[in-house]
Each structure stands twice: as structure tokens, then as C-alpha cells.
Amino acid sequence: MAAPAVLDTLQPVELAEGVEIRLRVAGPLQRIGAYLIDLLIRVALFIVLTILYSISGIALGGQVVTGLVLLTWFVIDWFYPVFFEAGKHGATPGKRMVGLRVVQISGTPITIGQSVVRNFMRFIDGLPMFNYIVGLASCFATRRFQRLGDLAAGTVVVYQRVPPQPGVPAPPPIRAMAPPVGLSGAEVRALSSFRDRSGLWPEARRIEIADQARALSGAAGAEGASRLMAMAHWLRGQSGGGT
């Protein structure tokens, strides 16, 4: 059976407490979505402020308004993501909407300095012409989907909340059956995810997946799938500290 790490983007991190947590690293697609939302927010913010300045320009004078617009442009351009990612949620509004946040590789919230580094590097990641070709290439070349700014700051973008899986109950177990051989941890985990998720699949898909474990179940087709379910059920009932 393939190791689960190959199948998904979970990154194990060991904490000082001696326990291992798994961070779910986000891929470029979600991040592009978040970026576009942020872009809209930034442009909207800039336009609204510019209009406000222009109205108050009657009192302030045109030159002052031009100065304020430039200053606002500078701040929004460079510090919008720095401010939000160093903040409480570790994410820009766009990232929050998509359900992402920025953390250190160790899983802790990032510092202001890291936020500065990763976001100022956008100037290079965005090359050429803010198309983010460089950043995208770097994402695909690294194990944790890090663009150059992430590499320099030591940060990763992870899912803040795992999207809830639709609550389809697994088919009720009909019987419990001990596996014919002792199973490794990864194998037990795979069986248990098979049970947890099988409610989401149509019958044909369940059988197709179960056929991959024919060596274990000893049968193909619907019988194999039901035997795997029975083994998963048995494991759930049996596994305990001593066994």
C-alpha cells in the first residue's frame, strides 16, 4: 500500500510536547484564488480612499491630495499583506475567505519579520510583470509549495480549516472480521479511511478501490469491498492499548 504522504499534502511536524501534528499545505490554485480576492479588495480600498481624499481635497488642496494618494498606494502596495499576515489570523482577508493561513514551517504563527520577508519578495516572485511565473515555478519545485518569499521567510501556507466532508454515513457494518495478517500502522490507517470515506462513493467506485487491496481481502468485487469493511469494523472494535 502506498504511504499516505504521497496521496495528500499533509506535512508532519513534531512539537516540543513530543507529539506530531499534520499541517495540510495549500496548493497554488487556492492561493491564486486568495490573491485575486485580495487584489479586488486592495483596488476597491484604493479607489474608495482616493474618492474620499478628492472630496476633502476642496479643503486640503490638490497637491496634498496627490501626496496622500501616493502614500496610500505605497502602503497598500507593500504593507497590506504584511499587516494582515502578521496579525491575529495569520492571513489576508482573501486567504481567510479561502480558508488558508500562513504559518512557520514548525506550525507556529509567523512573526512580523517573516511577514515582511515573504511579502516583500513578491517583487521577485511576481516576475515577470506580476504574473507570478517565478513564484509558481518555485511552488512546483518545492515539497511544501513554497514560493521564493516562503523559502526565505521559512513559512508555508496551510489550510486553516479542513473543508468539512459531507456527512454521508458509512454503510452500516454487517459483520466484523479479523484481518488474515498483522497490519502495519499505515495499513490500518488506510483501512480506517476507507471506512470513513466509503459513504461518499458510489458502489462501483468503492469496489474499484477495494480491488486494489485484493491481496488482503482475498476476493474481488463487492465481496472484497464488504470484507474490507468488516476488517475495518473489527479493527475499530479491537484496537486498544494492549493488543
Binding site: E17, I21, G62, A152, R236, S239
Partner: protein, 321 residues
């Protein structure tokens, strides 16, 4: 013990932990006496997670515990943000010490700027074509409109109300952003940083040479002298920050490249902050002082004092600690 039993037995503790987390997030939550319980609860949940892992409970249970541990971890392991005190300490010791620590890079970045600057400026007396091709027709027209004569300079730009403030903002928008780009260019193994330093050296040197040749030199030099020290040293220090990062890629030393890069980026931050600060000060001087109708001699003296202050600051500040 089956997963179901495990979950039933501990459900109350987990709910309590979640309630504590929520309480600690509320305003003034840090003063809530119950919140002192949080670290202990967090370690319990860590233990639950490792137990569940070791017993191969798998699936949704582990996922839930994993999420609970991550939330507590993020809550407990925040970094504290220093306030005014840290900023003052940065000004009096941290920044000059950081510059002195990288004195080799300081001279390297100075050379990258000043050598092309001097070459281009001096080339004026031999062959104007170098400068002409660097500035281009637009650049030359621009220089002439600003520095053709001393009377023109102040009237031309700063007669209207608020224009000093406008120029201050313009210099922030333009020059501080240049610092940031010089810094970011370091990630390309220092090539981007070097490009910007050399480019600025060539262009500013060309502008100075052109001012000597075709404009009123006094108008030019008296305008730039006041903010020159802040702006050029700021740019060079932004270059140091970028090269710091570039060198980590070129010569990571004993660390793997990724780790060396992270460490170098962290060390480069004081340089970057200092550079941005100097360039902001330069913008203030350039916006509110440099174009004032004051005797050129006064402006030269102010400029020289600026350079001396920088020398004293970077040579001596923060030596005691």
C-alpha cells in the same frame, strides 16, 4: 479500549479545552483566571493525540485531535511584540551594530554604487555620449527643467500650497520602494540587488555629470546635498540586506541552503528596517528642506553635517553594549 470508548471517556475534557481556547481569544481573555489552565490542558490533548496515533485509531478521531492540538499550539506559541522600548533599542544599538557586523558587505555595496557613479560623473569632461545615452532625451530634458538655474528650482516645483508634502509622499512612494526592491532582488543570488545598485550608480552619476555640464551645478548640488547622506546610505544598506540573502544562497556554509536562507533573511531585517527609516528621513529632508530658498552655502554645510552625523552614528553608536 476501542476508539468509541476513548472518545466517550475524554469528550468532556476536550470540550472544556475548546471552551478555554475560546475564552482566551475573547477580549481581556488573558486575565481570565481559568486560562492559566490552558497549557496543562494543551499537554493533555497532545498526549491524547499520541495515544490515538499509537493505538492506530485512525480516521476522523485523529483528524479532530490533530486540529485541536494545532489550535492550542497556535494560541500558546505566539511571539510577543515589543513596543516603543524595542524600537529605541534598535535605533541606539541594534541598527548600527548590524551595519558594523556586515562591514565587508557595507564596502562591497558602497563600491557597487560609487564606482559607476564616479566613472559616469567624471566621464562628462571627456565624452558626453556616455551620459547622454544613460539619461536619454527625456532624462536630460527633465534635468534641465529642474536645475537649469537656481531661481527655477524652488519656483518650478514648490510654489503651490502643499507641494512640499506632495513631494515628500512621492519620495516615500518611489525611493523607499526602491529600497524594498533592492532587498527583494537578493533572493536571485544577489543578482537583483547588484543590478539595482549598479544601475542607480550609473544613472545618478550620469545625472550629476549632466548637471555639471549643462545645468547650473550650484542648483543641483545645493538641492541634493541636504538629503544625500540619508538617501544614499539608506540605499547602500538596503543593498547590504539584499546581499546578505544572496550570499546565503551562494555560500551557505555549513547549513543546508534552505536553512541558511531563512537565517540570513532574519539577520537582514535590521538592515532593511534601518534602510527604510533612513530613506524615509531622506524623503522628509528632500520634501521640506532641499528645495527651500536658502543660501547654497548653508545647504552645503547641512549636507556635510548630515554625512558626519552618519559617520559618527555608524562608527560609535551601540559600542558600549
Amino acid at each position: 479500549m476501542t476508539p468509541g470508548e476513548f472518545e466517550r471517556k475524554n469528550a468532556a475534557r476536550w470540550a472544556e479545552y475548546e471552551a478555554l481556547l475560546a475564552a482566551s481569544r475573547k477580549k481581556g481573555g488573558a486575565r481570565d483566571p481559568r486560562v492559566t489552565e490552558l497549557p496543562r490542558r494543551f499537554r493533555e490533548i497532545c498526549l491524547d493525540l499520541s495515544l490515538a496515533e499509537a493505538r492506530m485509531y485512525g480516521g476522523l478521531l485523529i483528524e479532530r485531535l490533530n486540529a485541536l492540538v494545532i489550535r492550542g499550539y497556535e494560541r500558546l506559541y505566539r511571539t510577543r511584540r515589543g513596543g516603543m522600548e524595542r524600537f529605541v533599542r534598535f535605533l541606539t544599538t541594534g541598527f548600527p551594530q548590524a551595519v558594523r557586523r556586515d562591514w565587508k558587505l557595507f564596502w562591497l555595496c558602497n563600491a557597487a554604487f560609487w564606482v559607476p557613479f564616479l566613472l559616469l560623473m567624471v566621464s562628462e569632461s571627456r565624452d558626453m555620449r556616455w551620459i547622454q545615452s544613460v539619461l536619454g532625451p527625456e532624462g536630460m530634458a527633465n534635468m534641465e527643467s529642474m536645475y537649469a538655474s537656481r531661481e527655477g528650482q524652488a519656483d518650478h516645483l514648490r510654489a503651490e500650497y502643499g507641494s512640499n508634502f506632495m513631494m515628500f509622499c512621492f519620495y516615500i512612494w518611489n525611493n523607499v520602494a526602491i529600497d524594498f526592491r533592492i532587498f527583494a532582488g537578493g533572493i536571485l543570488a544577489g543578482l537583483g540587488t547588484m543590478f539595482f545598485l549598479l544601475f542607480n550608480g550609473v544613472y545618478i552619476g550620469g545625472a550629476a555629470g549632466y548637471a555639471n555640464h549643462a545645468c547650473d551645478p550650484v542648483a543641483f548640488w545645493s538641492f541634493v546635498s541636504g538629503h544625500s547622506s540619508f538617501e544614499l546610505i539608506g540605499m547602500v544598506i538596503a543593498g547590504m540586506a539584499g546581499m546578505r540573502i544572496g550570499l546565503a544562497i551562494l555560500r551557505p556554509g555549513r547549513l543546508p541552503r534552505t536553512r541558511a536562507l531563512v537565517a540570513a533573511a532574519r539577520d537582514s531585517l535590521p538592515l532593511l528596517y534601518g534602510a527604510a527609516l533612513l530613506t524615509t528621513l531622506a524623503a522628509a529632508v528632500e520634501g521640506f528642506w532641499s528645495a527651500q530658498p536658502v543660501e547654497p552655502m548653508v545647504k552645503y554645510v547641512v549636507g556635510i553635517i548630515g554625512w558626519l552625523l552618519h559617520a559618527v552614528y555608524f562608527l560609535f553608536a551601540g559600542r558600549g553594549d
